[in-house]
Amino acid sequence: MAEYSWEVRSPLRNAFAPGRLGLASGDAGIALAEISDFSLVQVMARRGQVANVAKAAKKAWGVLPPEKPAAVVGKDATLIWTGPDQFFVLTAGSVPDPVPPLAVIFGGAASLSDQSGGRCLIRLSGSKVREALAKVSSVDLHDTVFPVGAAAATSIDHTGVNLWRGPDAADGHPAYSLLVFTSFADSLWHTLADAAAEYGVEATRTPLS
């Protein structure tokens, strides 16, 4: 009997090889990273169950789910607003089915759908990150409008994305995370890389930590 293995493949496996893209000289203005090895579950409160969902989340991760577009970092999970009374639970590590443990947490208060395979996670940072993102996103990323922790359900290239600002990178520049649909990932990566090319891009692959 043949051996069956279930290797995870990235939708970006043909899009890039880690290394320098675009402008080759000088410091890269943009760090573009594919973040792998994560689990992502869509949580949608059932009618009249918002408070119970919040209570369950608080108990599980120590934080309330975001009530407005924001990304909240809790114990072992980041809760990212995706719409009214709904959010993503993002956790490190890839498992075949992340829903059952969450079903225990939320009981019948929420509807849950695994989206770990449905999204690709890309992180952008660097000294020119806002200039590059301004070419693809209509969201105002100014510090006063989109501080650390802010999130947006928005569109890039006519495609829905979830964008949020995590803690600033070690070099002090802002860092943005972007969840994009898996099927669009190859296309959007090219769009992002084009937008960033004039600043020089350092492209990497990193597991979610």
Binding site: G48, V50, V53, G83, Q86, T154
Partner: protein, 104 residues
């Protein structure tokens, strides 16, 4: 045009799609056992086809499909494109069950 989504804040037109006048209400033209009422076709004809086509302030259905996927009720002037009010559809999010046919 920019629409202030009650959940996401102000966003550009490209994130939204338009359905049309929010005034027509889907008729309740069937009895509990599914039997069609005699006036069902007239009521649905009016609902599906006839429009006030307002020149002025009009309440409309817009969908924030490029954002939070909420349906919105927008009051907008069709002669100036000025937006006067934006509300979430009654069933957006996990609001408690609302009476059938109710709108905001």
């Amino acid at each position: 045009m920019r629409i202030a989504c009650p959940f996401c804040g102000e966003r550009e037109l490209g994130e939204f799609t338009y359905l049309g006048d929010a005034a027509p209400k889907r008729p309740m033209a069937f009895a509990a056992d599914g039997a069609e009422q005699p006036e069902a076709q007239d009521l649905f004809f009016d609902y599906v086809y006839l429009r006030d086509n307002v020149a002025g302030d009009m309440t409309e259905r817009w969908y924030h499909g490029g954002g939070c996927r909420s349906w919105l009720t927008v009051t907008r002037n069709t002669t100036t494109h000025e937006i006067k009010a934006v509300h979430a559809a009654p069933g957006a999010g996990a609001q408690k069950r609302t009476k059938a046919g109710a709108t905001s």
